[in-house]
């Protein structure tokens, strides 16, 4: 069986500044990864590391500067029928209160998706389809019928958003920080939902987050991104239990542990994003505790160590 999505040397360059003083920011730098069927793949990293840009390229909102995105061995830039692609890839966004227009009823979003893709012919069938998808996320049509987004809780809205994305029977779901705005008491139910859907519907999920604890909880494989590079990719247990790249170590160390006895006291360095994007050599060399001379001159290559891919001079031989 072929892989669901394959990215090869995906690159996106943004240029900043006026006509005379142009600087180029490589937001995503030669990133390659694969997403298997029925797999939850996490893209993790701090803000401004290029994870959302990668997602936008997959969704077709942004064109890659170079590189390829293959969906079941078909290049998505060369697809004739874009609509077919949109049918197979759906997105769930961060803030459910901003996803929905407060002046429109939630159900109208469902009807619009059905209408846009000509999914069913009669109103009765449409109603059944909506009910079926809402059941899948633990809601029922009577709970959202005739309601505006303000009348539903954040958890219900995020569930509706997921149900809407399931209408077209997609094979790939892109979830960009889907739980960061959901109440703490409801967060795990949404996270569990992704796992259930992946297992029962064979859906691949690209889960974008900076919260490594939930990433560890649901995903199969994880890629840690830093300033446009994927610095460490591998099975989630391997990457998070035994981190190899110094940046992954820093990220794991920064998670506030839910245990008052384990307080972080070691100070950290904090650098501006722009400064790091324009850095020569390894982008992390400015704050890396294990920095060597070579890191400041040469960009490290990908090396495989124990079934993971690491981009670091420490593992080069």
């Amino acid at each position: 069986m072929s892989v669901t999505l394959k990215a090869q040397n995906l690159t996106k360059v943004f240029s900043l500044g006026g006509l005379f003083s142009r600087t180029k920011i490589i937001a995503v730098d030669r990133v390659s990864f694969v997403v298997q069927p029925a797999e939850i793949f996490t893209l993790a990293g701090e803000s401004g590391c290029g994870k959302t840009t990668t997602a936008r390229m997959i969704l077709g909102f942004e064109f890659p500067t170079s590189g390829e995105l293959l969906y079941h061995d078909e290049n998505i830039q060369e697809l004739k029928e874009k609509k077919e692609w949109f049918k197979k890839v759906q997105a769930v966004f961060q803030n459910p209160f901003e996803t929905f227009n407060p002046l429109r009823k939630v159900e109208s979003y469902f009807c619009e998706t059905i209408w846009n893709f000509h999914l069913v012919k009669t109103q009765k069938e449409a109603h059944d389809l909506i009910e079926e998808k809402l059941q899948a996320v633990g809601l029922s049509f009577s709970e959202i019928a005739g309601k505006y987004p303000g009348e539903l809780s954040g958890g219900q809205l995020q569930r509706s958003s997921i149900a809407r994305s399931l209408l077209t029977n997609p094979s790939l779901l892109i979830a960009d920080e889907p739980v960061s705005m959901v109440d703490a008491s409801l967060r795990m139910s949404i996270v569990n939902l992704f796992r259930e859907m992946s297992d029962s519907l064979g859906l691949s999920v690209i889960y974008i987050t900076h919260d490594l604890a939930t990433a560890y909880y649901i995903s199969d494989r994880i890629a840690i991104m830093f300033r446009g590079n994927m610095v460490e990719t591998g099975p989630v247990e391997a990457v998070l239990d035994k981190p190899k790249h110094p940046y992954t170590k820093l990220l794991i160390d920064s998670i506030p542990q839910p245990d008052p006895l384990k307080q972080q006291i070691t100070p950290i360095k904090f650098l501006e994003e722009r400064e790091e994007y324009l850095r020569k050599g390894c982008k992390f060399s400015g704050r890396c505790p294990e920095v060597m001379d070579i890191c400041k001159q040469k960009v490290p290559e990908d090396v495989s160590v124990d079934g993971e891919v690491v981009k670091c001079h420490l593992y080069q031989r």
Partner: protein, 333 residues
């Protein structure tokens, strides 16, 4: 334990009139709270439980439709307790930023995008310290930033040139310029990633250590509370349901809601299934009778549906409002 703020029987409601119908949102309901001096005090709870309203009441910043129905917010000023809600506008203004300061939610976007940070800092200082030249004030600002380990060069930058984490730290630095005794911080780390979040927490810890003041930190993230606070309160539907030292809350949570909150936290190295609290948060306009948590509680008693339990203290200063833990419940089962 010396209290610096004492809240007594506070009720802060939003009173709305929509199409002639009167609606009351009971955002803060019968809250009694002692906030200790020289500590980082945490308030946890989910969105819409009244955390921000409680902070506004603590800051004595009451604007319609918010109204204080009953209760007092006492500040400890020179050894005496003064009810902040009874002060007039001028007196409140004098206390603000010098005695008590407030870091509002989303404070990383409070800066005027077309003004340099320098101008924003000068504006702030000029309105509080009269009769000083601009140069003196700028030196003060520079010194303050240096003390906090931030580069004074940011004074020459526009807000959009700084990253979110940096802006948040600059906003915190601005609120501590006049060395206030109390800092109220509303979700200072939300919308930041873990590394920036750690830098912000580090800054707050440093400030508290140096000024020996009180920080009241409001956030829904239990991980942050575990990390930085020494004592904390759990809020649910406008009421305080549990209050204890942070260590006790995590090692021995007594209220079923707190127990759920702590159990549902995912941890690295542990893939066992976690569940969230069943049901959804109650509406503050029409809260359920009795204990507001009873429709979602698995250990619900008949009494819970009728009467609201009071916050009760045990020997170790661990307070909880739950019939399951109440002595009265033992007497009348």
């Amino acid at each position: 334990m010396n209290a610096i703020i004492k809240v007594e029987q506070l009720q802060a409601f939003y009173i709305l009139e929509i199409l002639g119908k009167r609606k009351t949102v009971k955002a803060v309901n019968e809250v009694n709270l002692d906030i200790p001096e020289n500590e980082i005090y945490g308030i946890a709870g989910e969105s819409g439980c009244g955390k921000t309203t409680l902070l506004k009441a603590l800051f004595a910043f009451i604007e319609p439709p918010l109204q204080i129905c009953t209760g007092k917010v006492n500040y400890s000023l020179n050894g005496k307790f003064v009810n902040a809600l009874s002060l007039n506008g001028k007196e409140r203004r004098e206390l603000r930023w010098t005695y008590i300061s407030y870091i509002p939610q989303g404070s990383m976007s409070v800066f005027n995008p077309v003004k340099k940070m320098k101008v924003i800092y000068l504006d702030f200082l000029e309105s509080h310290l009269q009769g000083k030249a601009n140069r003196e004030l700028l030196t003060l600002a520079r010194q303050h930033l240096e003390e906090l380990g931030l580069s004074p060069q940011i004074l020459n930058a526009y807000p959009h040139q700084l990253s979110g984490g940096m802006r948040q730290r600059v906003a915190i630095a601005l609120s501590t310029l006049l060395k206030p005794r109390i800092i109220l911080a509303d979700e200072p780390t939300t919308a930041l990633d873990v590394v920036a979040q750690r830098a912000v927490l580090q800054l707050m810890r440093d400030i508290q250590h140096e000024l020996k003041n009180t920080i009241v930190l409001v956030t829904h993230d239990m991980g942050i509370h575990a990390n930085i606070t020494t004592r904390m309160a759990i809020m649910y539907a406008g009421r305080i349901v549990e209050e204890a030292s942070t260590q006790d809350i995590f090692s021995r949570p007594l209220h079923p809601y707190t127990q759920y909150l702590i159990q549902s936290l995912p941890r690295i190295g542990d893939k066992t299934t976690r569940s969230s609290v069943p049901g959804s948060p109650p509406s503050l306009i029409d809260p359920p009778p009795g204990c507001p948590f009873h429709p979602r509680c698995v250990q619900v008693l008949d009494l819970c549906t009728r009467e609201m339990p009071q916050l009760q203290d045990d020997e170790t200063n661990h307070k909880v409002a739950c019939w399951l833990r109440s002595d009265q419940n033992v007497r009348h089962p």
